[in-house]
Symmetry: C2
Subunit: 301 residues, 2 copies
């Protein structure tokens, strides 16, 4: 079923102990779309400037990614991000950021996208996420990401958003910050009490925790990856695999959600194995399914 994503499209420059990738394609909606397209058709909503060097038809060649919602703004410039990862690949430093189009009005959801049933609102101002969500007629399952900046400075907007979405996909530290609670399980319960029905907490190389309003819980380690070259996009790829699988099945029960989180975990493990989206362009669905079965075996006892 139809899956819509709104988020950034970036020109990234990334340094890691394994090398440098200059002016490569990045951004939450790009990683998400790439990851989700293994499972379901994707509708991308995003904006770039006239300086954008990427041919998106080529970037998504062979994938069912509808670019009707891609706005090219002639008098604007594309979002740029430059960052460095250090030895442990756990934390990163932003060296440089140019918001450009991201500081302008958000892109509009095209009329032909308004019937989307599954929606992912990548990290941006909660007010914009709300505006984007309102343009969708009858979403069946809407998920959003957020970050510390919005929790600290736009909490009221974020709380409004939490009442409108079905699922929050959030980093561990940000979940604790949002809930003002150090214990992760208690933090999850507090976030659920804010209105969202499901919370998926991403713990990076330590996996994820999923809790829903009915008291269901799921804990999954990350895939034990020995090859990690560039963690950029891991979270958005995780969300893409997760939402892609949900859109593929058209179901949102907890069993489906667990499988979806496992698929998200697997797709993210391919993303981090190479720079930019190269880890995802070099694989196909059978690679994902193979590693999915491997992950299932790895946690069985």
């Amino acid at each position: 079923m139809s899956l819509l994503v709104t988020g950034s499209i970036a020109i990234d420059t990334v340094k890691t102990p394994y090398g440098v990738s200059e002016n490569c394609i990045g951004g939450s909606s790009v990683y998400f779309s790439m990851a989700a397209s293994f499972f379901s058709p994707v509708r991308l909503v995003g904006a770039i400037g006239s300086d954008c060097p990427f041919d998106f038809a080529e970037v998504f060649a062979g994938r069912d990614v509808d670019l009707t919602g891609l706005e090219v703004r002639q008098h604007s410039k594309t979002f740029r991000w430059m960052g460095t990862y250090f030895d442990d690949m756990d934390d990163r430093k932003t060296d440089y950021i140019e918001l450009n189009v991201l500081a302008e009005d958000p892109p509009k959801v095209p009329v032909s996208f308004k019937d989307s049933k599954f929606v992912f609102l990548a990290n941006t101002a909660p007010k914009l996420q709300l505006q984007l969500l309102e343009q969708i007629e009858e979403p069946m399952f809407a998920a959003a990401d957020t970050m510390d900046f919005w929790i600290e400075r736009h909490l009221d907007d974020l709380k409004m958003l939490l009442k409108k979405i079905n699922c929050l996909i959030i980093n561990e530290d940000e979940a604790k910050l949002l809930a003002n609670e150090h214990n992760l399980i208690k933090a999850a319960e507090k976030i659920l009490s804010m209105g969202t029905k499901v919370v998926v907490i991403k713990k990076g190389e330590s996996g994820s925790v999923v809790c829903d309003a009915s008291g269901n819980k799921f804990v999954l380690p990350a895939y034990p990856a020995a090859d990690v070259k560039d963690p950029t996009g891991a979270g958005d790829s995780f969300a893409g695999g997760l939402m892609g699988y949900i859109a593929q099945t058209g179901k949102t029960d907890f069993a489906t959600l667990k499988t979806a989180v496992a698929y998200g975990t697997v797709v993210a493990s391919f993303t981090i194995a190479d720079f930019s989206v190269n880890g995802l362009t070099s694989i196909d669905r059978s690679d994902i399914d193979g590693r999915f079965e491997e992950l299932r075996r790895l946690v069985q006892f």
Copy 2:
């Protein structure tokens, strides 16, 4: 089958956001024995001074813990540790330490313990761990813990030890330090190349990773505990549950090891729910088995 543990016995004072526990019983061999005794008889080897206020017959009442190896040294004092945990319960600060008996000659392994088949050498100088291990006639499966101090200052002794034991149970940061490798899976492989057949890496509230020399891997999240009052003893309880289950079955194949790690995880989750050993004295094996099944369900997809 017979399971021997050598390690510390401590008078602990612990502060956490949930309260203070003054002059309570602690130490690696105490937590380990308490945890392992749910599964198997335990033989404890350790030393205390004449100041020790605990009645060990009472501490271990109803448990099959053989105290023949408990040395009471009339002219010595018991090991004391005082520490503080902060809000996130992740890291702790040692406020005060008095080695006392731990700075003296290690306790001897009693003759009646020399036929032990399963051995756990809790964290101490690797040279002492080697001396203790040499007193066991024919160990079937010996495991050891270590810490940054020994890795940084007594690496040669530690490398000798790694050739003599079957399993190293070690914290994540210490595994990376020992292997001089930031990626955990690569670190595990490097540690296996040092001679031990199995490495179990403890990641605290993020679970554990197990790798063996045959290429088997197992990843398990921690039990998602909402009640965490005092993390002291979590690692030794984990090792106790793990080794206790192995001693109970008498088997050391990878499937048994996975189940053992899951039991260790479950026992540790009870330990951290209360101060000192109270989390373990208030439960029985059926509580452990119940949570074991719950953990199995929590990771299934």
